[in-house]
């Protein structure tokens, strides 16, 4: 649905996006994670044909960037970081303007559908300026969906929302997944990404990693296994670290924490080695990394000054 090849954007001397290559499948919710200033919004702006790439290309919904820009804009929905509503106009009129711009055939029905779905129908005649942040964000979401785009770009959809409003918006995004839409979700809310996304990419000017949230938690820094011993674990560190498949090993009181690529394969051998060394093993478990931990490691690995 979205195919990005070597996409690069430079603003003068500043490299905003560097050689991004990525594919997003139809019906997928794809999380695009990165710190502020990482180039996430610039990437979305390029993919929605708002700004032109310096180099590289992309296909969005079968349309090529730079060749079919108008068709791309017609076939995608964009929720910008700021809702960007006409605050003096009513909620319904805001949507009416965009329905006309997108050439929506049955505008009033679509307006009613999305305002009702998002719980704003009763407030349709109120000026958007009187809405709370959450309501504004929902109205902006309705605006992005009016023309039923198969591809949605959501730029920080829950930023600055209170937990209840954020929860509502997340539920709505999950609902959109069930409709089979492809969603490109820019966020630095890792819980949100973990809960909603089929795959996530960690991005900071260039692509650092892309995988499912589960695989990301396991890798790319290896999986961690904890051996709970009956005695002090320190004497066992050196012989276990000497095993060729052990990436790292440290002792924390009577726990031995190992980093391995494939615990299922290597755990039995480690258990045998520890028993041979006289260790009394009480329990073996996997230490689950959080996505946040992986994200922070990735971002800091690229820029240790952070």
């Amino acid at each position: 649905m979205i195919h990005i090849r070597n996409l690069t954007k430079r603003f003068g001397d500043v490299l905003a996006v560097d050689d991004l290559t990525l594919d997003v499948a139809e019906g997928e919710i794809f999380g695009f994670l990165g710190p502020n200033g990482a180039g996430k919004t610039t990437t979305i702006r390029m993919l929605t044909a708002l700004i032109a790439p310096t180099r590289g290309t992309a296909q969005v919904n079968g349309h090529t960037l730079g060749e079919d820009d108008r068709r791309i804009r017609q076939s995608v929905g964009l929720l910008t970081e700021a809702p960007g509503l006409y605050e003096n106009l009513s909620a319904a009129y805001n949507l009416r303007v965009y329905a006309a711009l997108y050439g929506v055939a049955d505008a009033e029905r679509q307006i009613q559908k999305y305002l009702s779905m998002l719980g704003l129908w009763e407030r349709r005649d109120d000026p958007a300026g009187t809405f709370s942040k959450g309501m504004k964000q929902k109205l902006a979401l309705a605006r992005a969906l009016l023309h039923e785009p198969p591809v949605l770009f959501l730029d920080e959809p829950t930023a600055a929302l209170d937990p209840e409003a954020a929860h509502l918006v997340r539920d709505f995004i999950a609902e959109l997944r069930r409709e089979g839409r492809t969603i490109f979700l820019c966020t630095h809310n890792l819980t949100e990404a973990e809960r909603l996304c089929d795959r996530v990419a960690v991005f900071r000017t260039r692509l650092l990693v892309v995988d499912t949230p589960i695989n990301l938690r396991r890798g790319p820094f290896g999986r961690q296994v904890v051996f709970h011993l009956a005695e002090d674990a320190a004497p066992f560190v050196a012989p276990v670290r000497a095993l060729p498949f052990v990436d790292a090993c440290e002792a924390v009181e009577n726990k031995l924490v190992l980093t391995l690529d494939d615990p299922e394969q290597y755990n039995p051998e480690i258990v045998r080695r520890l028993v041979a060394l006289g260790a009394d093993i009480r329990f073996v478990g996997e230490l689950r990394r959080s996505l946040e931990d992986v994200y922070l490691r990735l971002v800091h690995a690229q820029n240790p000054d952070l």
Partner: protein
Amino acid sequence: MLKILIYKEWAEVFKNRLVLFTVIFLPLLLGILPLVMLGTMGNVTGESSLNDIPPSALAMCPPALSAGECVQVYLLSQFVLMFMLIPLVIPVSIAAYSIVGEKRVRSLEPLLATPITTWELILAKALAAVIPAVVASWAAFLLFAIGGVAMAASPAVVRAFLHPMWLLAVVVGGPLLALLSVSLALMVSSRVNDPRVAEQLAGVVAVPLLALLFGQMSGFLVLNRNLVLVFLLVLALLDAVMLYFTVRVFDRENILTRWR
């Protein structure tokens, strides 16, 4: 599409009291003020007041008119040019405010993300600014014309100040001037950091008109039919060129990445 964008602009812009004041009171003032002056100077019709009229303007006065009638024609003619200032001032304030508004609520990005072309966007913004200005200036001129007819010393005076040349200047020149000032306002606003600067810079358009106005008042220049026609032709050409360049310099990327 254009219709709803224009309505949207009006619904937003006219919530601003300053813009509303400019659109309603400026034309009203310019419609009534000349009549008040005409009323107060109506009795000054002697040879002495003829001395105040530049000789070049006096030469334009039809021979059949009396000295008093010539003074009236001269006064009314000065004010007709003022009606061309209205379509210059009003649309600039509307266009500048509509852009400042877009910037304030950050609504330009979702708008540009729609399939709208730059031509459509510029045209909608230009028309939303030009239409109220033209309607307001025509309404003010109508008020002025009705009052002028009622207060004129003779039908000959009416015929002189409602000369087709002046009607052409107001009815055709007004919209052309409005379009010119809006194009400049939009062009400048798409190139500067603070779109409000556009309002001031677009005021440059008024300079040639003011020069024309003072030229006529001082007698240095007297507008005649040929000069008005040349003026309108130049305006029409300038409009086409300016509109073209406004669309060309409306750099979506620059605006999106610069406006924060």
